[in-house]
């Protein structure tokens, strides 16, 4: 078993271990969860240190790193084929990091800890799996496996409307992913393996236009398959009309799960589009790019506007995710180096920032037991450290220079402007509105007269700091010097652009 498999399946191992620990032994359960996710993080970090920046990945197996390639179901040409490149590795690393932090964030889960942690570890494995899979079938399996633990994690440990939120999340994403299933099967039957001549689930073979036959030779076939895939991914992103599961799921989910949802799950949609839709159907990607850009702009503005109207802090953050994912969509719709790198960097950066935001909301919720923005006020007096970190995170979300979000957004703008001028200008309005809702929220929560109810509210504690500070450092570090990540991405993404007509 290679490093990558180890990193991916470590959490699953932890889950199996936990299943054998008696229900009462909560601390042992937690420690197993912590250790396995930590080991996974250590492994991915080690892999980063070993990462070869000169390989571009995307559509050549030799260009991927940490590849493991075995036959799984030989009769159906399903393979256990994993590997990383510049597109996936940042996400892999991010998911291992956030899994670890989320375990810390879930330390005080009130009930059914055994179930919680085992489901969480399953979730962690499936997330990593999605990002490392290079076999479409494997990808799909991981993609769907994610739904089950997510459903329970929201549904059992969530807020008051958890059942509704959980089933909504489940149904939406399932509806999307079954379309993907169809598209996947259609690809399978319309792609030949150049070596064996049979059909294949190997993504890399699908990327090679020479291997396409039948349906994939026709424009209509390609177009509708692209749409099916797109809807599958779009629901996850979530793209504008499909986004309504997100606020509900985020608001009802426990803190750690919101972190994972916003930090990793949303990225899977755009990741899938770039990883799968673009290389398989580059012409259609180009053909529909304007629509994607328009949707991106709608996401940006719509998310921001609706965020401004929210009264619930977590909902505000949730809608801000809608808005921020719009930048990813805009960036990837333009096929310029700056645009697509910006988009993927925004995925990475939003993963860090939004994780911070949800953790912060969680911190305050743990203390005040509500999230009404207007119910707070003047918290800067009673919780100075918390306020400091929160301002950092919120400024990062607002796209302030010095933080990763700024670089990503700027790159998206720079990339998009030459292609879609008017759209970019409209999208840039988003920066004003974002500043508006974030500052307004900051003012209502932290500034002004201290609400006497919260005079003696405790400031942030060490455990909470320990999960926020690494993220804060990351967002500042990569905000000042993004090249370690960008170097990785640019090889792959610039290469990807050459595949798009």
């Amino acid at each position: 078993m290679g490093l990558l498999s180890l990193a991916t399946f470590f959490p699953l191992l932890g889950m199996v271990l936990i299943l054998f620990i008696p229900k009462k032994n909560i601390s042992a359960i937690k420690i197993v969860a912590l250790v396995t996710t930590f080991l996974s993080l250590v492994l991915t970090s080690y892999m980063w240190s070993q990462y070869d920046y000169s390989l571009h990945g995307i559509n050549m197996e030799s260009q991927f790193q940490f590849v493991e390639h075995f036959s799984w179901i030989a009769t159906y040409h399903i393979e256990y084929f994993i590997g990383v490149d510049g597109l996936s590795f940042p996400m892999v690393w991010l998911s291992s990091l956030l899994s670890f932090l989320a375990i810390i964030a879930s330390w005080n889960i009130p009930k059914a800890q055994k179930g919680y942690f085992s489901l969480f570890l399953l979730l962690a494995t499936s997330m990593m799996g999605v990002f490392v899979s290079l076999d479409f079938f494997l990808f799909y399996v991981f993609w769907e496996v994610m739904l089950l633990p997510m459903y329970f994690l929201i549904g059992i440990w969530g807020g008051p409307r958890r059942e509704y939120a959980a089933i909504k999340f489940f149904l939406y994403t399932l509806a999307g992913s079954v379309l993907m299933l169809l598209a996947m099967l259609a690809f399978y039957f319309n792609v030949t393996d150049p070596v064996t001549g049979g059909h294949t689930f190997n993504m890399l073979h699908m990327f090679d236009q020479n291997n396409h036959i039948g349906l994939l030779k026709t424009f209509d076939g390609r177009f509708w398959l692209y749409i099916a895939l797109f809807i599958g991914f779009a629901i996850k992103v979530p793209v504008f009309p499909f986004h309504t599961w997100l606020p509900d799921a985020h608001v009802e989910a426990p803190t750690a799960i919101s972190v994972i949802l916003a930090g990793i799950l949303l990225k899977m949609g755009t990741y899938g589009l770039i990883r799968i839709s673009y290389p398989i159907l580059p012409d259609i990607a180009r053909y529909t790019s304007y629509a994607l850009a328009v949707l991106g702009v709608i996401n940006i503005l719509y998310g921001a506007f609706v965020a401004m109207a929210q009264k619930d802090l977590k909902k505000l953050v949730a809608y801000s995710s809608v808005s921020h994912m719009g930048f990813v969509m805009l960036g990837m719709a333009v096929f310029t180096e700056a645009g697509i790198n910006g988009a993927v960097f925004q995925m990475f950066s939003h993963g860090i920032i939004t994780a911070m935001l949800f953790l912060l909301v969680g911190v305050i919720y743990d203390r005040a037991h509500h999230r009404e923005i207007d119910g707070f006020g003047g918290l800067a007096v009673s919780m100075p450290v918390y306020t400091g970190i929160a301002s950092l995170a919120f400024f990062a979300a607002l796209g302030l220079p010095g933080f990763t979000g700024f670089i990503a957004e700027a790159m998206v703008f720079i990339g998009a402007f030459p292609v879609y001028r008017v759209l970019t200008i409209i999208a840039a309005l988003g920066i004003i509105i974002t500043a508006g809702y974030i500052l307004w929220m900051v003012q209502r929560v932290f500034l002004g007269k201290l609400n006497p109810k919260y005079e003696n509210i405790g400031d942030i504690n060490t455990r909470e700091l320990s999960m926020l500070i690494p993220l804060g450092i990351l967002t500042i570090f990569f905000g000042i010097y993004p090249m370690p990540v960008l170097n990785m991405m640019k090889m792959s993404l610039n290469y990807l652009l050459t595949l798009i007509p």
């Binding site: 009769t75 496996v145 549904g155 149904l171 259609a186």
Partner: protein, 489 residues
Amino acid sequence: MSNLNSIQYFIPELFLTAAILALIIVDLFLKRKQKSIIAYLSAAASLVAGFLAYQQFSLPATSIFQGMLVLDSFAIFFKILAAFSTVIVVFISLDKFRETAEYFILLLIVTLGMFIMPAVNDILMIIIAMEIVGLISYVLAGIHKTDLKSTEAALKYMIYGAVSTGIMAFGFSLIYGLTGHTNLYDIQMTLASGHVNSVAMFIAFMMVLAGLGYKIAMVPFHFWVPDVYEGAPTPVTAFLSVGPKAAGFALFIRFLVTIVAHPSSGAADTFVQNVDIQAPFLIAVLAVLTMTLGNFSALNQKNIKRMLGYSAIAHVGYMVMALVVFNKDAFGAIMFYMIVYLFMNFGAFWILESLSSKLGGEDIEHYKGLGYRDSFTAVSMAVFMFSLTGLPPLAGFIGKVYLFAAVIKQGWLILALLGVLNSVVSLFYYVSVVKAMFLKQDDELAPIQTSLYHKIMVLILVVPTLVLGVYWSPVIEFTTNSIGLFFGR
């Protein structure tokens, strides 16, 4: 092949018949307390029969008993499946029918019917085989003589079955009239020669479909399903939803690929229709109707058994969907799905059966908070539910993948689309059970103690559901081989 020579190919059935007779005799000597011996013996008998059938797997395909039956691996596959489902049903029923020896004997007779059904090669044999399964099933459905629901189910089943069989028989008589043969191959030859009126053939085909459709619970012949499934004792329902249905599918497939279509050349993957009727499109429409109706009707059910009844219709829809393409992939997919469906469906029914007395009923309501009362069972139930929905990494998903793959391969994308959308709908009701078990915590209810027997049974059913979702190569190879010989005759 002459009758005498055929006997060597008929050993499993002969064994079963002998076992039935032996059990009837043994039953006479048993005291009431000892009646459960019959159960074990019947399980053993069907197990042995299944094993004997498996022994025949490598035999070349032959037609036996003067063309009344054929012996090919396709038939053997379904025989094994039938034997296996009987074994499981015996264990599911063990508690409830401990003292009712007749039940197990009847079960074995149905098993015999199910052994014959996939192998038939003559109109008469079709009718007889279906009647064996049918008639005895009526009795099984009504075996709770004092239960109003059970007897009502039996009567409804009986009336519906009798009429359907009657219509089917009439359809067969027309086919006989159209071709002058009762042997399926002869019919095929005549049809393929192309002198048969397609309109008349189509109407006859539809009449036959009434009987076959009733057996597999396809719209619009599904009406009996919810009532009978709800009314019949749970083990019987479980049995009806798997065993006879699988045999029905085998029969349906054989009917389609001999009477409606024939292999285009030798052992080819593709089939040419014998008569110019719009069978694929018709089947597609019926499949969509079947799954949609099944799913949508299941949505608001409060009784899990009835819900599973409706959902069984939906699953038939998925399987019928694959039939539109008339090829190896489709039949392989259906066979694979049958295996998967056997595990997950029996699993769900077993939990339903073994917990109904402890929980006080079979409504979703009763399952509230089960996850906190008996987490092992609840998790297993969740696994079955999700597998039935078709989520990876569970067996149901793989099953569906094959079904959808079969139709997508031939370009029936819209059909597949409707299929997958249906499985999204199905999530809603399957998950409602899960929701009740896990999302509704009720601290007042005490934990449930379940027997070791219960746990082992669950384990036996849940492990394949999980494992087949991750590694299914041997099974798919088995099914593919089974088809290979079917066409290689």
